[in-house]
């Protein structure tokens, strides 16, 4: 299937890059992957009959728009990245590492968006953290190491709490032994509400950390402003969407289980708090890029 191409291609590209170590291959692979990504996503976006659902992957109306956004941004980043890398005066080896991580980062985000299994989504969200850590640390300055440390540490703890939420969700499911989103939504009526509500708090906070919702947003302005511009664009325009997408999926389960008023209140509180924090900080900020990023990311609250 075509979607598998998007998940296998970056790994193949990394292996080829590792074997041949040519500097020209860096940009070549990024641009080829971006173009193929764009074509495949565009195909699913236009052709409704091609959308499908299987055990681990699915493409449907809910995620095709996220996939398309990722493709468009990645294509733009890939074009800009070529010039950025030519201007950056760094060792060839570091440029190669940067390319590995960029490819794996985009692959993991694609995986989060098309994944049909909550457990697998969790694994891939954590993979995005680990891959983008190097991108943030790319300039190797004191401030970038601080940003990378905060990013990896805060996000890993947040994601670990999201895993607690997933375990509690699997308590709520009772006899159903599956984390597949379709199974979960189909059987949501039978879930235990106490455990389901508890799990939603953990999942909202866990993936909310990754999405940069207040009050667990502290890594976000630092990491985004320290990352090289192409990586920064991917972080703010696509990574936050992927984390948001997982929250949205779990919210769908809450709706199916008729706990949605509770979930709405929780999401409203976090969203409002994020807007409030952004509004307060935006007056006191001394870093233009950070200011812009906070503001842009908070638009997601809506």
């Amino acid at each position: 299937m075509m979607i598998n191409l998007l998940l296998v291609l970056p790994i193949l590209a990394c292996i080829l890059l590792f074997l041949f170590k040519q500097e020209k291959l860096n940009n070549f692979f990024v641009i080829v992957y971006a173009i193929i990504h764009f074509i495949v996503s565009g195909y699913y976006f236009i052709n409704e009959t091609a959308r499908f659902t299987d055990r681990y992957c699915h493409i449907d109306n809910s995620n095709v728009i996220f996939l398309m956004v990722l493709s468009v941004i990645f294509l733009a980043v890939a074009i800009y990245n070529k010039r950025y890398m030519n201007l950056e005066d760094v060792a060839v080896r570091r440029k190669r590492h940067y390319t590995y991580m960029l490819l794996i980062f985009v692959m993991a985000m694609t995986g989060v968006i098309v994944s049909n299994n909550l457990g697998l989504s969790w694994v891939l969200v954590e993979a995005t953290t680990l891959a983008s850590a190097y991108l943030i640390y790319f300039s190797k300055t004191k401030t970038s190491i601080e940003a990378a440390w905060k990013y990896v540490f805060i996000c890993s703890i947040g994601i670990a709490l999201a895993f607690v939420g997933i375990i509690i969700l699997s308590i709520a499911t009772g006899d159903l032994n599956s984390l597949n989103f379709y199974d979960l939504i189909l059987n949501a009526q039978t879930f235990n509400h106490f455990w389901l509500k508890l799990s939603f708090i953990f999942i909202l906070f866990g993936f909310g950390t990754k999405m940069g919702l207040a009050p667990v947003h502290f890594w976000l302005p630092d990491a985004h402003s320290e990352a090289p511009s192409p990586a920064s664009a991917l972080l703010s325009a696509t990574l936050l969407n992927s984390a948001f997408f997982v929250i949205l999926k779990v919210f769908n389960i809450m709706v199916a289980a008729q706990c949605d008023s509770y979930a709405r209140i929780m999401m409203f509180v976090m969203g409002f708090l994020s807007l409030f924090v952004a509004a307060v900080f935006i007056y006191h900020i001394n870093n233009y890029k950070g200011c812009l990023l906070i503001h842009l990311s908070k638009i997601w609250v809506f």
Binding site: V123, L130, V164
Partner: protein, 216 residues
């Protein structure tokens, strides 16, 4: 029998809260890995060689050999042997940890219908371990001890996943293991870089980045 090991697992957190030597913390990680292995094996419903091998690989090899060896090497290289300047005195962190562990035992003895769906002792102790680890992360002052507390939290989550009598799909289990392993590895590398750039491993150095200037 596994209940005794679970309680012992809870008590290891008290040791982490009370001591400041980082080498001792690493030894606790080894002990926790072995305890988790014993708890898994004793709690196994049906015996299969493949499961046993996977559990042994996950708990014994990764959690109690590879990660502690890596952290031990890191401590030797950075020459940071103690975490003495914690935000609060060790006595108080021991006290807080004890209270939380006690609350964990209380939770496991609550008698309500929802608790019938899980194994209560696993649940209470693992939640206590997770909360104690989170508190210790905020209290400790060295980045290495933060990494160690992060791993104890992951161990707590591992115990929590045992409280549900269901198995995650293999691909998820492997993914979780891989992610934890790589996260620890990356954090370890960052610790090394922090040590060379900032000369020591105090967390307080990592506060140069701030978005607004406070007038104080």
């Amino acid at each position: 029998m596994e209940n005794a090991f679970i309680i012992l697992f809870g008590f290891t957190m008290l040791y982490v809260a009370a001591t400041s030597r980082l080498a001792a913390h690493v030894n606790v990680l080894v002990l926790q890995g072995i305890l988790l292995f014993l708890i898994c094996v004793l709690g196994m419903n049906e015996f299969s060689v493949f499961n046993l091998l996977f559990i042994a690989f996950e708990t014994l090899l990764i959690k109690s050999v590879i990660i502690p060896t890596f952290l031990g090497g890191l401590i030797k290289r950075t020459k940071e042997y103690r975490d003495t300047e914690a935000n609060i005195h060790h006595f108080y962190s021991l006290f807080i940890a004890t209270v939380i562990l006690f609350a964990g035992f209380l939770v496991s003895s609550i008698n309500m219908p929802a608790m019938k769906m899980i194994n209560p002792l696993y649940f209470g102790v693992s939640i206590a371990v997770i909360i104690i680890s989170l508190i210790l992360i905020t209290v400790k002052h060295k980045v290495v001890s933060n990494v160690i507390d992060f791993i104890t939290m992951e161990n707590g989550i591992f115990l929590l996943s045992l409280s549900v009598a269901k198995e995650m799909p293999m691909i998820v289990n492997l993914g979780v293991l891989l992610d934890l392993f790589i996260a620890v590895f990356i954090l370890g590398l960052l610790v090394k870089h922090i040590n060379t750039k900032f000369d020591d491993l105090e967390v307080s150095h990592l506060s140069d980045l701030r978005d607004c200037e406070y007038d104080d």
